[in-house]
Symmetry: C2
Amino acid sequence: MHLVPADRAERRTIDGHRVCDAIAAIGDEAHVRTWADRFSLLADPKRLALLLALHRTGPLAVSDLAIATGMNDPAVSQALRLLRAAGVVTGEKEGRVVRYRLVDDDTRLLLKHCAADGP
Amino acid sequence: MHLVPADRAERRTIDGHRVCDAIAAIGDEAHVRTWADRFSLLADPKRLALLLALHRTGPLAVSDLAIATGMNDPAVSQALRLLRAAGVVTGEKEGRVVRYRLVDDDTRLLLKHCAADGP
DNA sequence: TGCATAGCTGCGTACCTGTGCAGGTATCGA
DNA sequence: TCGATACCTGCACAGGTACGCAGCTATGCA
């Protein structure tokens, strides 16, 4: 099986068959970038704290999230804007309060892992 | 249960009990940062491709990884240096070839998720 | 109709990080 | 011993990103 793209076919390999396996394992580039972006959202401690709170506590208001995480309101708002744009959370307006909740199943699965070995 | 730290105890909450739940869900700050760092390693497409290759293919040489991912050698080396410093991978020298493999179970679990919905 | 609260936005700054290039070290074959 | 290969390191540049501040809109209460 020749999975090595033409532009790097002439480069010498150490274990040729493993290179093909590796290319197959990596898969589509778009697929990889999608997951990298997903991980990127969880890579910030503040954002991760927000998501962990939403993961376990259900709909939460912005200012409550700010108190729980020790952030100031604009910082929470900006983080939620990012997460909302990525389709990870959604906000529902009730009067002058906006309650956010988690909507992405893949992210939920990842959060379960890092909530598992907690205290 | 009063889990709100003293420095933000006077701020008004929308749903007081949920704030406490959220703080409990977030847990220790060091724990959150540890996981954020872990996710941060997977947040780069190139690094993620390297890890996916190592996850499924076993010990791989640096230049083979470079061919499989389309990166140049120094880029692979630097990425591996980062992953090695984080304790995610380890390299064993055999002659003039260094083969790397995955050693972190938490990371392995995360990789399994994004390898699951592949092609 | 004021006035406080809840949330959002834009801007500027400082910082981090990925990337490529040049050069260095160590091992193997001729 | 000479050269090629495999890998590593340091440095500089560009790009992205988090963070704080100031100001804005909108809702609810008195």
